[in-house]
Amino acid sequence: MTPGQGGNLTAMDVAAALDRLAPRLSPTATVARNARRLSGGASLETWAFDLDDGSPLILRRRPDGALPRDTALPLSSEAALIRAADTAGAPAPSVVHVCEPGDDLGEAYVMHRLEGETLGRRIVRDEAFARVRPGLARRCGEVLARIHAVPIDDLPPLATSDAKGELARYERLYRQMDAQRPILEAAFRWLGSIAPPAPQRPVLVHGDFRNGNLMIHPGHGLVGVLDWELAHLGDPAEDLGWMCVNSWRFGEWRRPVGGFGDYADLLAGHGGDITLERVKFWQALGSLKWGVMCLMMYQSFAAGADRSIERAMIGRRTSETEIDLVALMEAA
């Protein structure tokens, strides 16, 4: 079957295409080796491979026929954003090549493979990261400030959103499901009553900046911001709030920033230009959005699109966002 014209590439197809591409990825390379699919997202494939000159690389590609999530960016846009962030001094894997039709890899790009850990549970608990954990929250604030300062005029087309628009979008998605969740209902009303106005100047928002999408090195700390497919223009406080959602603290709930740090460090790292109140609004909206997403993933089980036990069980994670929302509403 011709790649890119239906069906999906096998591991052998991917390995063969990377082999042909190798000389264009590095002037000293002739072949690619050890191509292997990493576990991870269903909407995008991630492959690790090496060139024979030793370069460690990553291929990101959209499975053939897979439609991007409604808000997800084309991979060429994701690659352009990573390059822009790199230029602005935010740690990101260098993009080596954006694939073209003749590469036989479909919609895809190649980037450098960074060394480190992305598993949140290890980052918040393992002794190996004890040395870098105390500085991570401040560093996250600094890196976000660089992303938020990227000049937006030269970026690929991006959607613009604000607090009220996001609330309305997620309430529509919730209503479509006919779920009866009083805590989510109360959260929509509460957050609607305190939603901040759109920022005067929208900035580049990463959109999924959280423990789990950050490459952390035991010696060098945050070395790469990954998964840019939900990037958009909007309120910089959105990224800070999402970072503090309890679902990404991996049990370390006393440390609001990713399970490793405090609000004050995150805010100071960003430059002290964003209020804690605004971050907490976006944190609560983040919990609410994650709750709706869990229900939507369950819905694909209920509708028969994906009958896996995983899709059924993720519906039962909605209650984690509900208990967090109750705590936030009580404290408000």
């Binding site: 576990s39 499901m177 779920a179 009866q180 969740r181 009083p182 805590i183 209902e185 109360a186 929509f188 009303r189 509460w190 009553s193 309890n246 603290r249 049990g251 370390e252 709930w253 006393r254 229900l295 369950y298 819905q299 089980f301 209920a302 009958r307 896996s308 036990i309 995983e310 059924a312 069980m313 519906g315 039962r316 994670r317 909605t318 209650s319 984690e320 509900e322 208990i323 967090d324 929302l325 109750v326 705590a327 509403m329 009580e330 404290a331």
Partner: protein
């Protein structure tokens, strides 16, 4: 009283998983086996605690709404009162009901979740 998924749907999904014959060394199957074990534990907790939870929720909802009905009706009524703005999200009796509901359900769905300890510590 818990839906999305219901106890029945969870049990069906577990049975469907158990009927699969994986290829040796199938990493995806190994991952799903852990999910299925969690699902079995959730089903067991709900079988033990679910009925009591529903009885208590009905009593709270009757007092909060001042009307009668089964859990499904009362819960839908509460959702509508919140959606329409008929009930304030600052009502202490509402917040007490939501708190008890959240605690009851997380004890079934994910008793080790940090948010439970956090909420109990906020007393």
């Amino acid at each position: 009283m818990i839906s999305h998924p219901t106890l029945t749907e969870l049990s069906e999904a577990i049975a469907a998983f158990d009927a699969e014959a994986p290829a040796p060394g199938d990493a995806r199957h190994a991952f799903l086996a852990r999910v299925a074990d969690n699902a079995r534990a959730t089903v067991a907790r709900e079988a033990e605690q679910g009925a009591q939870l529903e009885t208590e929720a009905i009593e709270r909802l009757k007092a909060l709404l001042g009307c009668e009905g089964d859990f499904t009706k009362l819960n839908a009524d509460l959702c509508e009162a919140l959606r329409s703005g008929g009930m304030s999200t600052r009502d202490p009796a509402l917040l007490a009901h939501l708190r008890a509901t959240a605690i009851g359900q997380i004890r079934i769905d994910q008793p080790s979740y940090g948010g439970l300890e956090a909420l109990l510590a906020s007393d």
